[in-house]
Symmetry: C3
């Protein structure tokens, strides 16, 4: 890899310098053009999924296979024991095994471990600290990959950065992260990761949401810190017209309200009257004519976004998913020494 | 492959000429004799299963591995998001993702996609049109394989044709497709596919069933069309003695009555008194002495067929399952360019 | 392999001579030092899991991958049909397929088959006979591996023997197999296998348990037979102080009482007052200063064993799990002819 030092783990884009991120993107583009089907021959990736997945599950396996390695998938509660994560508990409940054994055990079988941990969804401070994922990753002595934690999703963010590059979206362009309606209260991981990515790319970022869906202050603060050295900016608004004017990218995503975190009933109540927060063609009326629609997927059609947007040439959601592959191949190549 | 053009997809034997089918069978036999462990090195097959499977799941993975490739298995609702298939719906229910995103996304990760879609089981016309599978396959830009759709199962049919060849069953022999009892109303896919296969092979085919279990007219019509150019014939009867006299093959299979399609209570009522439609030794009394018993599996012992038949040398059910491997290796070899 | 004849199956350490076991351990150590990444190139292992697993599932896949082969995982009831195992039944219930078809079918797709069958848990005599596993293994014409049956777990036992060697535990050392508390009535497989292993290694074995948890007489008798030719011994006691004095190894494991086998309510009643059978630091007070703690995992923290023991340097549980890999690689290497 051109000049970059090898990674020891891949937990957050926030841990990497702009130069390191761009080196990963260069490697991703190189692997896209020029396959290296033996780079990770004989290497094994463990994939520990505490939550369902389509893209992450398939793209990580594909990434290993395309580099000549292989994968082992473990899904606690589905064919594998339910795992306990809390410290010090008397384990007389449903979980048969503790991650303090499970993860060090896996270290004997696999060369790197990807963990999809998701948010607890009940304690905002705990989720913001990402202690759950970090605590598990610490138990693995080798390279670890965050496949979505309570507050981050760096594989998504890295792939999205590549998509913005591929689409020719200027680094200084206007990027709108727009809250959207959804039947469920979803985690903050993708909005936080994508916000940080756009800020670190140097973009003029607007977070558009109904008032009660303002992102937690620490998430905004981290994004502003990322924007700091590279000419980017981050602002928040509930004014749709103002936010969307001149937008080069509308990145839709639903997330839970920090005001009622973990309170499903209050959340449902809050969403009455917010069905209009479904991205449709009108949202693009005052945007830049070249404005693209992004979403991390899976997406609820006609709740989060209208068919007419998803099925239009504006939509880049499939390209985003495809870039997960190249981004992750670069990460694995770095973590597992494919670059020698 | 000897003279045949490469396949672009494998959705139905009915889409192939007799010459194309025989070329696939020749390739299957060649791969059985003469392994090609690197033919599909680096190629990845996606396997999208909307329904459970043993043979198809294991034999497709084995086929890819024996040709040097690999597989990624996805089971919506089991570790992967539930997928919506209907067009235009407001996705506020259980499904988190639409196949219109999921399948194009997978196209970035895998080189070919096998889909097991099964029948809706409620709307006979819709199932006969196979619109569900066809609509999904259309979303994938590369080669697609039908791993059992509402009305077809070409991998089963191709393997069964090879089994008939291996067993030395004459192409003009008498083939009886016999309805059998079962606790559940099962899809029409296997009977339709196997009927078409036997007809296209040029056999003298009899469909034996109780009156209310006559196959839908379009299924019979397609099989007669397949029989047309190759000396085969298709007739229907409810007279067991007449049907079985001189039979060279009894292929048992249960299926739902087209009369009460999707109506479980009516179906249960209809089956009272049909427990005698369990293939036992008596069924072979007037058959050709060399008559063989076939079934696609899984089979319910002592409901569909008696232990004494399954455990006798007449039974070819395990050979049928083994031929799935060679047949599918030929299909994959053709679809993924192993033949170069 | 040095002098040993190739294995045809791996069902129990009790089927092997001490020399054969030590030859497997030598091979395990050789593979640990000196990888053979192409030894099983192109070979496919089938893994049929009737019960959940983490270690066995991941370590078998890793073992095949590290030797250049691949694996196919099948979990009846989870993506694959539920399987019937009883002979002669009318299959009108939940199971769609009988193992009498399923296992011979798999023989066409995979080169060797591992089966995790577990105990029925209702009929002690049946479980002691291990007829369930043996009956299934018999249906597979090639090499079969016991991945835990009603009364044995030879992969665990072989890995544990290697762990004892690695830790420098003398072959004549004092080995205590200690019953521990647990919220569920667990199978006898691991205690029986581990007891036989320690006896065959020539150790001075004590089985420590509350009176109602004495192991069944045939299990003790088999272990004594194993101890016979090699200077080992097996005794039973309920006196904790006597058992633990001078112990070189405390191997904790919970198991169901043979007195109320299959009677959950009686079992629960029996365990009132046995919460003190949780291994804590006190258990090591009179043991050999070098005494190590072993457990097969998964383990319930603070029910079976205290955090303070598991997190201390005494604990060898992770090393045990890691040795599963090397032990199983040796077994696969032998079964699948990697040794040529």
């Amino acid at each position: 890899m051109t000049g970059a030092t090898a990674l020891a783990r891949f937990h957050s884009l926030a841990h990497l310098s702009g130069e390191e991120i761009r080196a990963l993107l260069d490697l991703a583009r190189r692997l896209e053009r020029q396959p290296e089907p033996r780079a990770l021959a004989g290497r094994i990736l463990g994939l520990l999924f505490f939550n369902p997945s389509l893209r992450t599950l398939a793209s990580m396996q594909s990434a290993m296979a395309r580099l000549g390695g292989s994968s082992i998938v473990l899904q606690p509660g589905q064919g594998t024991w339910k795992l306990e994560t809390r410290a010090g508990v008397v384990m007389d409940g449903e979980a048969s095994e503790h991650v303090r054994e499970a993860i060090p055990v896996l270290a004997g079988y696999v060369d790197a471990l990807g963990i999809r941990a998701f948010a607890g969804g009940g304690d905002l401070a705990a989720d913001l600290s990402d202690a759950g994922f970090a605590g598990m990753a610490e138990l693995f002595p080798g390279p670890t990959i965050n496949l979505e934690s309570a507050i981050d999703h760096p594989c998504q963010a890295l792939g999205d950065w590549k998509t913005l590059d591929d689409l020719g979206v200027p680094e200084s362009g206007r990027f709108v992260l727009a809250w959207a309606n959804h039947p469920k209260a979803l985690p903050l991981a993708v909005p936080a990761a994508v916000l940080g990515m756009a800020a670190a790319r140097g973009m003029e970022v607007t977070v558009l949401s109904p008032e009660p869906y303002r992102l937690p202050a620490p998430v905004i603060a981290r994004a502003r810190a990322a924007a700091g050295g590279c000419g980017g900016s981050v602002r928040e608004t509930s004014d749709r017209a103002e936010a969307l004017a001149g937008a080069r990218v509308i990145y839709a995503k639903s997330w839970a309200s920090p005001l009622h975190y973990g309170d499903a009933a209050a959340e449902t109540e809050l969403r009455r009257g917010l069905a209009g927060w479904c991205v449709d063609d009108d949202w693009f009326a005052a945007a830049d004519p070249a404005c693209r629609f992004l979403h991390c997927l899976p997406v609820r059609r006609n709740v989060v976004v209208a068919d007419s947007v998803l099925d239009s040439p504006r939509s880049a959601v499939v390209a985003q998913a495809h870039n997960r592959l190249w981004a992750q191949m670069a990460v694995l190549h770095q973590l597992l020494g494919g670059s020698r």
